[in-house]
Amino acid sequence: MTVPPQFFKRDVIITCGTGGVGKTTLSAAMGIRAALEGRRVCVITIDPAKRLATSLGMKELGSEPQDLTERLRASASAQGLALPEKASFHALMPDTRSTFEEFFRRLTSSSVVLDQLIKNPLFQIFAREFSGTNEYMALQQLMKLYDSGQFDCIVLDTPPSRNTLDFLDAPKLLNQLFDANIIQWLIRPANKIAEATVKKALGLLEKLTGATFMHHMLEFARGLFEIRTGFSKQLNRVIELLSSDKTGVVLVTGAHADFAEELAHFRRHLLSHGLKLDALFVNRTLGAYPELSSENLTEAKMNPELSRSVELIQSLRTRETQALSRLKHATGDLPTTLMPELARDIHSIEDLIYVARQI
């Protein structure tokens, strides 16, 4: 069993990819694999569907790292594997909302500003829905765990949305917002706005949205303005860690050519921000199993039901092979690992070890 180098090379492994392909489960399996190699691992997931908890055989995961080392040790030994003494295995699922508030709390010294901000209805929706809030908060957790020195391998499972990588553009977006010109339009009292077109645009906006909204929006903008310096500093630290050699990205996808476009987009985006791409994992493939033997095929011919299954499997395999070359091409021929399609869902650490051993 050879071990892919990213399990030793990087302190932080980010899994990034298309949704619905078992990325969360695979991230957990990667964490387990790294732990089996003796590393001190923590897996972070942002996933309201609680997939990680389910696949670890638990009801839920807390927002603090939960120590699963002994459970992993017991399950591994049931499969005849020894977990190295120095290894550890933790998992957590940060609660976005409380992390977000805590985050703002740390950034502002004025409790009046903070209270006003947290009560603002726009902030409340922002905290929940702002494209990328989940990602920012995952990154805050990542920094906290990294700084703790408790782990030497942190696996971050990014949410499977097309906005996943928005956080990389956040500094630019924030600079745009805090760019004196824009922010001053928003926070200056209306009578001081000199520029006619701006006045006109804001007037139109008010006409469209109503006065209450405008009031909330201006209050919100002022609140953000207060915390901007701290926010940018935090963000820059994270970006620095992500673009250093300490961090590697693993792309995860399903064996379907449709994903090629999205992967290529991820790749371009990641590379343009200086992140390092380590590997491509194609999950849930039939190609990870050996081809049907001639005995299998003979057996299938005698049974009409089975022959329909075999016909389906063969045509899916053919499609997979074609998809694979497109996926590889789209990701610049990264080292590729095929993971097998499973016969049933994952329900326990034992199950995850079976998957981890396939890596």
Partner: protein
């Protein structure tokens, strides 16, 4: 080892949902929403109904592009920036002014970073288009993002307490809540986690549209095989989640699907299912299956 059982949910029969003017096809990534939605749209068009099949922000197509793909059948690549300008043009009634407005950096920033504006605009476009077609079949983005679209209308109705945007958001909720006007079709795969998540999606949608229950369609069923006498039929008791080889996979897959169907039946979830179509002819195949089952 724990397995989750679905809670009692309200459902609408698939055939009932497919009678409605606007059909939202939703579900997790990779469950076949695009094929299913196109197959449905195609049947409507063949029956002579003017049909719009809507995709959202397909990066391989031009933003906002409208294509005629067959008789009575159009495809719209719904995209936020183009839809936003159109919408502002409608609201402000002066196209040039709309551009000035939408190119304003403050507005641009808000449209990009603001909570749900993007999603609201996409749904708004679809909402406007419904007047121009007999049928609209929307291929919604995968679960999280698709949900955000509906959540966004709700958010906006709460955020603005007056003004034209408020009125529009309200009217959209009303349209999409009405069982005469719109329906939700949730596509799932016959695996445990996807099934569970499709029920969670259904429950979420019902919080936004309490009187308009979704329908469930289970896609891509493997050919059913009889279990060998010695075979354990309860998948949760198999020692490993892996299959021994591809024939074993086919056998186990069939048992897994039977097991999951049983759980859904016991929980009283109504659903229809579709056999796995071979790649290449899937759209025609799904159209044919839906018609054969009398769902269209």
């Amino acid at each position: 080892m724990q397995t989750s059982t679905p809670q009692q949910t309200q459902c609408t029969p698939v055939a009932e949902i497919l009678k409605r003017p606007v059909i939202f096809v939703s579900g997790k990534g990779g469950v076949g929403k695009t094929v299913v939605s196109q197959a449905i749209a195609q049947v409507f068009a063949q029956k002579g109904q003017r049909t719009l099949w809507v995709g959202f922000e397909d990066p391989t197509r031009k933003p906002g592009e409208l294509l005629r793909i067959a008789k009575n059948l159009h495809y719209l690549n719904c995209e936020a920036t183009t839809a936003f300008e159109e919408y502002m043009g409608l609201k402000l009634r002066i196209p040039g002014l709309a551009h000035l407005f939408t190119s304003n950096p403050v507005i641009k920033f808000l449209a990009k970073a603001g909570p749900g504006i993007h999603e609201l605009v996409l749904l708004g476009k679809l909402w406007y288009e419904r007047k121009n077609y007999d049928r609209i079949v929307a291929d919604l983005p995968s679960t999280g993002y698709g949900l955000a679209m509906f959540q966004s209308i709700d958010n906006w109705a709460k955020m603005f307490q007056s003004g034209p945007l408020y009125k529009d958001a309200k009217a959209m909720i009303e349209t999409f809540s009405s069982t005469r006007e719109a329906g939700q079709l949730i596509v799932a795969l016959p695996e445990e986690m996807p099934l569970q998540e499709s029920l969670e999606l259904g429950a979420y949608l019902q919080r936004i549209f309490p009187h308009n229950a979704p329908a469930y369609l289970i896609n891509r069923r493997f050919p059913q095989l009889r279990a060998a006498d010695s075979q354990e039929t309860d998948p949760t008791r198999w020692s490993t989640p892996l299959a021994g080889n591809l024939l074993d996979f086919a056998q186990k897959r069939s048992l897994l699907e039977a097991h999951n169907s049983k759980i859904w039946n016991q929980a009283g979830v109504q659903y229809e299912d579709l056999d796995w179509e071979l790649p290449g002819t899937a759209i025609q195949g799904v159209s044919a299956q839906l018609q054969k089952k009398g769902l269209l």
